[in-house]
Symmetry: C2
Subunit: 296 residues, 2 copies
C-alpha cells in the first residue's frame, strides 16, 4: 500500500492538492522551486527536499504539478530528477497540463528505466483543488492506475482512466477546447440578449433548463453577468492550453475551424490585458468589439 508520497510543485493548484493528501493520511516529501510555497505543507507535517531526486528517494509515488512539457522533462529526467532517485517499480504521476506527445515520450523513457508513469491532468480550478472535487483524466496502464487510485480519490471526484499513456492529456486538450468554446458562445448569447433589450440573467436561467445547459453557462455565465473575473482559471493559462490544443490538432492534420476560432478569442483576451483574469474575461473582449456591456 502506498504511504509515502512525493509532491513537486506546490503552486496555486498543487498546494491545496498536497494538503488534501496530508489530510487523507499520507506522509509527504515536497520539492518546490519557490521555498515559501512549501511552508504551509511543512507546517502540516511534510518534509522538504532539495531536489526531485531526493523526493523520489523517499517516496513510493511521486506527483508533479508544474508548468509545461519542458518543466516535466526536467523534473522527471533531469540530472536531479525523479529518474535519478526512484527505485524500480516506483510510480510517477504528472498532473500538469502538457502535450500528449510529450507525456508519451517521457513515459517511454521512464518505462525503460523501470519507472511507471501516469499522465493525470485535472479540471476544476483552484476551488476543485481546495475542495478535493477535481475531475482527473488519467492515461497509463490499468494496474498502475488501480494501485494509486486511492491518492486520486483524495484529490477528486470524477476519476477516469481514459486510455494508455497520453490519453489523459488528450482528454484534457478536449476539455480545454470545449470549455473555451462554451465560454465564447455563452458570451455571445448573453450579449445578444443585452443588445436586444432582454435581461441576460433571465436568458441564462431559461437556457440552463434546456439543451443549451452547460457548466460554463452556469458558472462562467454568472461571472460575466457579475463582471467578476477573479480567477478561477487564468486566461494566460487557458492560452497555453489552447496552444497545446492547436499543436495536437496540427499533429493529426485535422481541420477544426471552431477550435481555431476560440483559440484566437483566448489570445485576444490575453492581448487585451486580461491574462491574469479568469478566461471568462473573454466576454469583455466581445463587449468592446460590440460596444455593449454585461456589467451590472
Amino acid at each position: 500500500m502506498v504511504e509515502k508520497v512525493g509532491f513537486i510543485g506546490p503552486g496555486i493548484m498543487g498546494q491545496p492538492m498536497a494538503l488534501n493528501l496530508i489530510k487523507a493520511g499520507y506522509r509527504l516529501w515536497v520539492f518546490s522551486r519557490t521555498a515559501e510555497r512549501a511552508a504551509p505543507l511543512i507546517e502540516a507535517g511534510a518534509t522538504v527536499c532539495q531536489t526531485p531526486k531526493a523526493v523520489a528517494e523517499h517516496a513510493d509515488v511521486v506527483i508533479s504539478m508544474v508548468g509545461n512539457t519542458a518543466d516535466v522533462e526536467q523534473v522527471a529526467l533531469g540530472p536531479d530528477g525523479i529518474a535519478a532517485g526512484a527505485s524500480t517499480g516506483e510510480v510517477y504521476i504528472d498532473m500538469s497540463t502538457i502535450s500528449a506527445s510529450g507525456a508519451r515520450g517521457i513515459a517511454k523513457r521512464l518505462g525503460e528505466l523501470g519507472i511507471h508513469m501516469l499522465d493525470a491532468p485535472v479540471s476544476g480550478g483552484d476551488i476543485g483543488a481546495i475542495q478535493g472535487t477535481l475531475s482527473i483524466m488519467v492515461g497509463g496502464k490499468p494496474q498502475v492506475f488501480e494501485r494509486v487510485k486511492p491518492l486520486f480519490e483524495a484529490l477528486g471526484t470524477n476519476i477516469v482512466l481514459v486510455g494508455d499513456h497520453g490519453a489523459g492529456q488528450i482528454a484534457k486538450t478536449c476539455n480545454q477546447i470545449v470549455a473555451a468554446a462554451h465560454i465564447a458562445v455563452t458570451a455571445e448569447a448573453l450579449l445578444l440578449a443585452k443588445a436586444a433589450g432582454v435581461d441576460p440573467h433571465n436568458v441564462r436561467k431559461a437556457l440552463l433548463g434546456g439543451f443549451a445547459a452547460s457548466k460554463v453557462l452556469d458558472v462562467h455565465g454568472q461571472r460575466m453577468l457579475d463582471h467578476n473575473f477573479q480567477p478561477g482559471f487564468k486566461a494566460v493559462l487557458h492560452k497555453k492550453d489552447m496552444g497545446i490544443a492547436l499543436d495536437t490538432i496540427h499533429d493529426y492534420s485535422l481541420k477544426f475551424p471552431l477550435a481555431e476560432l476560440v483559440a484566437r478569442s483566448i489570445n485576444d483576451t490575453v492581448e487585451a490585458g486580461f491574462g491574469d483574469l479568469d478566461s471568462s474575461a473573454m466576454a469583455q473582449v466581445f463587449e468592446e468589439r460590440n460596444g455593449i456591456t454585461l456589467a451590472p
Copy 2:
C-alpha cells in the same frame, strides 16, 4: 380560470403538447391544416374546427405551434385568423420559433385589438413535448403570464418569463446558437480523441465531470458515438432557427464570429443531405472533412 383551450398546429411537437393539455383536464378545440394530425386529439376528446377563427371563438386561450413568422401572422391576423374570432381580453400564446421582431409586431397589432399575446418558444424536442418536460421561454406581460401559467405547467418543467414581447424568442435564439456551438465543439473534441487513438467514450465520460460538461455532450455526444442520428431535432429546423439568429445578430449590428461559424456548419449539414437527421449529424460532416469516423 382558463378551461377552454384552442390549439393550432398539432404537428410533431404540437400533437403531444395538445394531448398533455387534454390529460391535464382542459377542453380542446383544434385546427390543423393536415386533417389526420388532429385525429388522435379528436379521439382523446378534442373538437375539430375549420379555421383558427372558429378555434378562437370557442376558447379562452389559443396556442399555436406552426412553422415560421409568415404562418404565425396568417394564424393570428389572416382573414380566418384568431383576431377575427377572439373576444376582448382573450390570450394568444405562440409557441413556434419565429423572429423576435415578428413576434413583437404581431403582439402590437393584436394588442390594439384587445387581444393579449405571449411568445413562448420551447426547447427539449419531441421527447420533451411527449413527457411534458419542455423548457418554455416566455415574452409578454407578467399578469397575462400568471393567468396562463397552469397551461405551461402541463407542458414543461422549466418555465421562465424572460421579459416583454419578443423576449421569449430572443432567449430561444440564444438557446439555438448555444446548442449549435455545443454540438460543433462536441464533435471536434470527440473526433480529436479518435484521431489521437483515444477512446472517445472515455473522453465524453471524463469531460462530463468537469467544466466542459454540457447537456449536448451528454445527449448529442452519445448520439455521435452511437452514430444514431434519428431526430431529436432535425438539422433542417436548426438551420431555419440559425437563419433567425443571423437575422437577429444583423438587426443589432453585432459581430459574433462563433455564431456565424456554427450557422455555416448547420448549413453544411443540411447541404450534405442530413437535413432530416438530428442536427448532431453535423458530426458526420466533420468526419468526412477529416477522414475519420466515430462510428462504432
